[in-house]
Symmetry: C2
Subunit: 86 residues, 2 copies
Amino acid sequence: MEEIIGIFAGIFTTIAAVPQIYRAWKTKKVDDVSPKMFFILILGVLLWTVYGVMKQDAPIIITNGISTLLNITMFILIFKYKKQEK
Amino acid sequence: MEEIIGIFAGIFTTIAAVPQIYRAWKTKKVDDVSPKMFFILILGVLLWTVYGVMKQDAPIIITNGISTLLNITMFILIFKYKKQEK
């Protein structure tokens, strides 16, 4: 039972960035999105990935590895679509 | 060493929503933020909290409990400041 809940928890927290990436890519607008949020998220999931490697724990590596790539994608989109500051 | 990396990873992924909440609260603009992202995140961290309770793992409960509250706060702000759809 814990196993199943853990799997769904992992899937949800891993894929959460996808609709945000899709929205940014479709609208090309990111003004209200916090780049700091994604920067801190990237640091966090990157450290979780390192933690997974040290503990040799495949689920931690896979979910956080995917999260790292997704959050980096969003971070790049933020800078790509950001309006020039006045 | 794993311990320290895990603590920092947990702190970063937990507090990441704070700058987004602050930005939304300050600008009162959330048009480019994906409500789906925060909805999925809430489901995910809520399930992680349940997982932590079942495993009686305090760090999982605390970090994901805080994340749940922060992401719910952001989700509420999205609906509070959302412009009417045309």
